[in-house]
Symmetry: C2
Subunit: 441 residues, 2 copies
């Protein structure tokens, strides 16, 4: 029997957990700053809930075995579809929520670049029938705050619009039934050279002429206002209804983002497609530029968009929605070291007994626990003082509370500051207030 | 298509999440007080890792479908086996860790009593070669602290010992190969009448005589010291090696627990068996007495024991271990109301604009966000002041920051205390310090 975690998964050790708790705390703070409440959903959903939502990525869904339950189940692939199902199930008309949970994809793992089969997504979404592009602007503003909070310094948010993409595909002569397959091909452009993507398009039944015209469009990118003007000057695009309405929306969005003062980090990028089927409007991804430039392609660290027709697919009335997902594993792949705090073990005091019984050490630990001071003692009846100090040192525990025959007799204890190596003797009744003051608790 | 969560699972709404975050915080505080660090493991394990660890309960394990990966996977059934696998994988000789995560059991659900198919376990375990019963005493002491922290007032910890059980089964003439099956039958005594359990024993091949003798033993329970003396007075038990060594261990344990001052809530209960195969020594369960007396059988709210031979089954050397799991769903089933805090939405201020543009409201929100004040505004361009105040009220948001034409002209804002209904007008530059002071941030 092989003793390991399944392919594409990893254990999280205490250092990972401290880092993750810190990052989650920062994220929750940002999410709540913009009015979100938290929810959770089961790790698996009825298989039918997930079917036909993810396009070509559907093949990456983990199914559960049929064990005679009468329900076909699958592990959640993202947190967006479960959110739409949640809204429909609970008959909600609007909700701004965040959700931090693991999702599952049978993808090719690339662990050092933060690509796992089990990984956390941290999602923020605004569902509700609001005025055009206001929630969308709120989401993008929030992403800039999250990047600040996580100290991801050199990032860029690439934006596009599904209807703009549809519009220019139409202009390029892409037949209707090929719109989603061609979108999915364009989505691969960040990892794949144009020639390969072109071959995929032709294999899917697109004409060479259409494919070559698509190339001229997907190369358009840059500053949001300039790119918007450039696109608005393309007559055949403006004649297309989808493209024109998308460009109108983008103009409104960029105005709001200008009000929020966050247009500098934006890039209007026509090669952005987003693979998932459910997007209907604005789409975006945040990229860490430094790692791009260093040739470490970790992919997007945050992505999302608008999906106005997803909730309606669960028998409920449509609820226009927009949101995004922060890929914490990828951010940790580039930033983990900077989040590591000094102390992983949070024990405040190690009880050291010299020439006294285990019960004497237990009573002292009990005294500290009572006052919510994190305390340990050696789980050995007979152990030298030296070995006990070694244990405290090994875990970087800041204080040792020492009790010997002398202290026991006089109802005293000695407190040793393990960093300063200084030691003082105090009355037992002064121990808790003294330590609490030292620990700033 | 049916729109629901899978059988035995439930969504967690924002109230659930606030309660859970509070309870997890209290638990983590307790776990860290006793020196534990946190870990996590994947939600699924290689199927072989879980095989032959849980006895008859193995049939409740969720398998993943074979999708051609070459690995057979199953959802984790508890956090103990993954911990043992973790120790073996990482070559650790000792670790005191906690782990808070969901586990999966294809059991008959009983949602109102907190029995789900997907539920959280909160585990604390001490692995390492330490002196007899010292880590065990630490675990039991910690459970009393957890019950205090969670304000579970009328609880009892029932204790027994696997070797004592083995010993008295031997005395009762249970053949060796029936030891685990009979243990598993006795384990059902808390939910099942004796006659039914007896039938199961006979069906498993036990003689009527043995079964009837078992009955006289499993009825023994009570105060730990008295029960210990009662058992030690049974000559045939003392003659049995397993029973004698178990009773010796219990005597040492009760001494330590006396030192910790926690023997009052203990009950030495010979009907306690614990279903899982891996226990080798002390076993225990915490019961909420009030709900037992009220006839609401929610089962144990915490359970655990010693498992000295589990890590060794993963090809590593044996690491003696003891620990327990807190069943938070069951505690919430009886205590949830008492953990609910007043505010679920944590928004501090709602920006209200009257006769000003959406951009003016956005700029004001931006000012608040910059200073880490949680702020919302209505996502509508044209909306009356009344409707905006209504939104703030609905979410119990404590402050409204109001901007009208007058305020805009004079570079001022009005701050309305939504509870007191009082309102003051201040300079815009004073807004952030004023709100921070009011919010005690």
């Amino acid at each position: 029997m092989e003793i390991k975690t399944p392919k594409g998964t990893a254990d999280s050790d205490p250092v990972d957990m401290v880092v993750r708790e810190k990052v989650f705390g920062l994220l929750k703070n940002c999410f709540r700053r913009h009015g979100a409440v938290e929810i959770d959903t089961p790790v698996f959903e009825l298989k039918d809930i997930l079917t036909n939502k993810y396009g070509e990525d559907s093949k990456l869904i983990y199914d559960l075995a049929d064990q005679g339950e009468g329900e076909s189940l699958a592990l959640r692939y993202d947190l967006t579809v479960p959110f739409a199902r949640y809204l429909a199930c609970h008959g909600l008309k609007k909700m701004t929520r965040f959700h931090i949970a693991k999702v599952y994809r049978r993808d090719r793992p690339y662990m050092t670049r933060g690509r796992f089969r089990e990984f956390y997504q941290c999602d923020f979404d605004i569902a509700g029938d609001y005025d055009m592009m206001i929630p969308d602007a709120d989401c993008l503003k929030l992403i800039t705050e999250i990047m600040d909070a996580l100290e991801v310094e050199n990032f860029q948010i690439r934006l596009s619009h599904r209807k703009l993409l549809d519009g220019f595909f139409e202009v390029c002569g892409v037949p209707n039934e090929l719109l989603r397959p061609i979108t999915s091909a364009v989505d691969k452009l960040d990892k794949t050279p144009w020639e390969t993507v072109r071959e995929e398009m032709l294999a899917k039944g697109l004409s060479e002429e259409s494919a070559d015209k698509i190339k001229t469009f997907v190369e358009i990118k840059g500053n949001v206002f300039e790119t918007l003007e450039q696109l608005c000057s393309i007559e055949e695009l403006i004649q297309n209804e989808n493209a024109r309405s998308a460009l109108d929306e983008m103009r409104i969005l960029f105005g709001y983002l200008d009000t929020f003062g966050v247009t500098d980090c934006l890039n209007f990028d026509l090669s952005l497609a987003r693979g998932l089927d459910y997007y209907t409007g604005l789409i975006f991804e945040a990229i860490h530029l430094d790692s791009e430039q260093e040739g470490v392609r970790i992919g997007s660290i945050c992505g999302g968009g608008r999906y106005d027709k997803l909730v309606g697919r669960f028998g409920s009335q449509d609820i226009p929605s927009v949101g995004f997902s922060v890929g914490i594993e990828r951010i940790l792949a580039i930033k983990k070291e900077s989040y590591i705090q000094q102390r992983i073990c949070t024990t405040d005091a190690f009880v050291v007994g010299i020439g006294v019984s285990i019960e004497d050490r237990m009573k002292l630990a009990q005294l500290l626990w009572e006052s919510n001071i994190n305390a340990e003692f050696a789980y050995k009846k007979d152990i030298s003082g030296r070995k006990q100090f070694e244990q405290a040192n090994k875990k970087s525990i800041p204080f040792a509370v020492v009790i010997g025959e002398e202290e026991l007799k006089n109802n005293q204890v000695s407190v040793k500051d393990m960093h300063a190596s200084s030691q003082i003797k105090i009355d037992r009744c002064d121990l808790v207030p003294y330590l609490l003051a030292q620990l700033n608790k």
